[in-house]
């Protein structure tokens, strides 16, 4: 919990060389079916890492290992080792509630709670007890909405339902909600796939800004988006990590034949 307090949106932590997240030999089974095969991947601190690949390649499954969202699926089994700051997140003693406060998530479809805009953002701080006074909570909410670039649009209607916003605003509200617990890592599962191009551009810009303070992992179907927002890219195919590296290299000079076929549109 100490790390959470240390990383505030206003005071970005210095970027150490060690990776924030590291997956070693990560395999995932849904019942008898194996969805992910021995994936090794390091996610750099304060950078955007995008996971690309055709539908059903396991990129979302891999993303959901980082905050143990797969735990909510009864038939799902995860093996291998995933560490956050060298701490095994599948350790028996680790509390999944605290983990999810440190690893926030934004989903494919904007899913604000059917509560007020304020209550949406305040929800995380409330359940994790991140404030002492009402003023502190209001500060957190305002700071989070500012970080998500939504403050000026909603500051006069914080008591109105979050579901009344437009799709793009809803998604930024979800981002504000996720960063209100001051996580270290932000996971984004195709955050723009339900949005129009203008709203997408706003979110992409936001992702670029958020990189200063958060480690971001994003799953995307759009290769242009991966190229625009991420510094590192990992290509998945049929449950295996095929290639990973700097985004520039992957898109201009892929080593693997499958990667080349995918980014040029021949498979997928």
């Amino acid at each position: 919990m100490q790390q959470i307090a240390a990383i505030t949106p206003d005071a970005p932590a210095p970027a150490p060389a060690t990776p924030a997240l590291r997956g070693e030999k990560v395999s995932v089974h849904y019942g008898a079916k194996q969805a992910l095969f021995d994936v090794d991947l390091e996610v750099g601190r304060n950078a955007v890492t995008s996971l690309i690949g055709p539908s059903g390649c396991g990129k979302s499954t891999f993303l959901r290992c980082f905050n143990r969202m797969n735990d909510t699926i009864a038939a799902c089994r995860v093996s291998g080792r995933i560490t956050l700051d060298d701490e095994d997140i599948y350790d028996r003693n680790l509390d999944v509630v605290e983990l999810r406060a440190r690893v926030g998530m934004v989903f494919q479809k904007p899913n604000p709670f059917p509560k007020s805009i304020f209550d949406n953002v305040a929800y995380g701080p409330r359940i994790h007890g991140l404030f002492r006074t009402k003023e502190e909570l209001e500060e957190i909410v305002e700071a989070s909405l500012r970080r998500a670039g939504l403050w000026s649009e909603v500051k006069d209607r914080l008591r109105e339902p979050g579901t009344g916003l437009s799709g793009g605003q809803q998604q930024r509200l979800c981002i504000a909600r996720a960063i209100a617990t001051r996580p270290e890592v932000l996971l984004m599962d195709e955050p723009c796939s339900a949005l129009d191009p203008i709203a997408t551009a706003v979110i992409e810009e936001l992702i670029d800004e958020l990189r200063e303070n958060f480690t971001i992992v994003i799953v995307t179907h759009s290769m242009q988006q991966a190229a625009r927002v991420s510094q590192k890219t990992a290509f998945f195919h049929l449950g295996r990590l095929v290639e990973e590296g700097l985004t520039e290299d992957i898109f201009t000079n892929p080593v693997n034949r499958q990667t080349q076929d995918y980014i040029t549109g021949r498979i997928g």
Partner: protein, 435 residues
């Protein structure tokens, strides 16, 4: 499968161009006619349903409206100190008081038999009505007390025209002499037919003119209260566990199948269960709303579990994901997000389940809630009837006045059901508009 895909394919290959235009027009006309027919069948079905409902309601109203008014006769009773001792009015000779009051209005009776026939005009309970009025107000002793007394059932029927004057005297419940006396009272302006408040404020009685639904309404209220207090929390807890937490395996499948079957069990079986378990094994009191409520709760429980599960299922999974993604525990996800969204559906289903329980008769008959009880129950452990069982008792009674009261009782029951369903609709709209 292959034949299904092959056939239209060959049609498509033949192409619309090869089908003559008039043949296509014919096909289109047939299709449109079929559409129209389907719509007509639907309208016909609805019209039939509405027609039958109208017939039911009209029959009930035609049969029951007379029970909502009651013939009363205004009588001045001389409360003389001779019959009533001011020190102990309860022990007075009330029979004589009533006789004297009536005698003063009518020609003198020639014989004791005639006097008895005259006494039949007022309800049998008149002496108790007068006694209670005097006990409540002892200052009238020595003076006269004017009371609007309900007329006995046969004179009520005579006044309402259900007993016809042109029937031969030997086939009629009232004699010619009694009709003459009654007409005398009418001429004196002493007969009136006000609204029958007794129907709502009196409990059951052997005499239709003073029988009411107060006991049944109170009994039904207590039984429904017990039913709600048990089935609502238990049903919701069971549904939440089954829907949100239970592993999907053979045991939970078995539980689910059994709950669905339970919802289809005939209600009389629940009555037998209540008789065997609550009365015979646990020794709870017979005819008590507590036992009635327990039995009704068993019946309502599967309904509440099923509607709650459906309401929970209807909450979009993205809300649960959002909650878990924020680090909420399963309990927090359910209580903060899922349950509030499911609540309108749960409440609606619960009220409809309770409305069903309110109209349920068979299980209450088996645990003795069809007893003849002349005062409303003071609590859930006192013997009582319920609305449907009261209707059942009245429907079984031979007096003419109970015929109309049976229909009136059904109308009152329907009124309560209507109110409950209206509350359900109101709650659903009110709560759903919140977001």
């Amino acid at each position: 499968m292959s034949s299904m895909t092959d056939a239209p394919l060959s049609d498509a290959v033949a192409g619309p161009a090869s089908v003559p235009a008039d043949e296509r027009a014919l096909r289109r006309r047939r299709r449109n006619a079929a559409d129209r027919r389907l719509r007509l069948y639907g309208i016909a079905a609805i019209a039939t349903a509405i027609g039958l409902l109208a017939v039911l309601l009209l029959t009930l109203i035609a049969g029951g409206y007379q029970a909502f008014v009651q013939t009363h006769i205004r009588v001045d009773f001389p409360i003389s100190a001779e019959h009533v001792d001011p020190a102990d009015p309860a022990a007075g000779d009330w029979r004589s008081v009533v006789r004297d009051g009536l005698q003063a209005l009518l020609p003198a009776a020639a014989s004791p038999a005639e006097q008895r026939a005259m006494g039949q005009i007022l309800t049998n309970n008149t002496q108790f009505i007068v006694r209670n009025a005097v006990i409540a107000n002892p200052s009238v002793i020595g003076g006269t007390l004017t009371v609007e007394v309900p007329a006995a059932d046969i004179f009520d029927q005579l006044n309402k025209g259900t007993i016809r004057r042109d029937t031969l005297e030997e086939n009629r419940r009232v004699t010619d002499a009694q009709i003459r006396w009654f007409d005398t009272l009418v001429e004196q302006g002493r007969v009136s037919t006000p609204f029958n408040w007794a129907l709502f404020f009196n409990a059951d009685s052997r005499f239709p003119e003073i029988a009411g639904l107060a006991g049944a309404i109170t009994g039904s209220f207590y039984a429904l209260l017990v039913c709600f207090l048990i089935s609502f929390p238990v049903g919701i807890a069971a549904a939440i566990w089954l829907e949100e937490f239970a592993p999907k395996n053979r045991w939970t499948d078995l539980v689910e199948v059994n709950i669905n079957n339970l919802a289809a069990v005939p209600s009389i079986v629940f009555g037998l269960l209540g008789l065997a378990v609550f009365l015979n094994f646990f020794g709870l009191p017979r005819s008590a709303p507590l036992v009635g409520g327990l039995v009704l709760a068993l019946m309502t429980l599967p309904t509440i579990i099923i509607v709650t599960r459906n309401a929970l299922k209807a909450v979009p999974p993205s809300i649960r994901e959002a909650g878990y993604g924020m680090g909420a525990s399963p309990q927090q996800v359910v209580l903060h997000h899922v349950l509030p969204l499911a609540l309108p559906g749960i409440l609606t289903g619960t009220i409809i389940g309770l409305a069903q329980a309110l109209g349920e008769t068979a299980p209450l008959l088996l645990i003795g809630m069809n007893a003849f009880i002349t005062s409303p129950p003071g609590g859930v452990l006192e013997a009582s009837t319920a609305l449907p069982t009261q209707i059942y008792i009245w429907a079984d009674s031979p007096e003419r006045g109970f015929v109309a009261r049976t229909s009136a009782g059904i109308l009152v029951l329907l009124g309560f059901l209507l109110i409950m369903n209206a509350i359900a609709i109101f709650l659903r709209q009110r709560l759903e508009r919140r977001w």
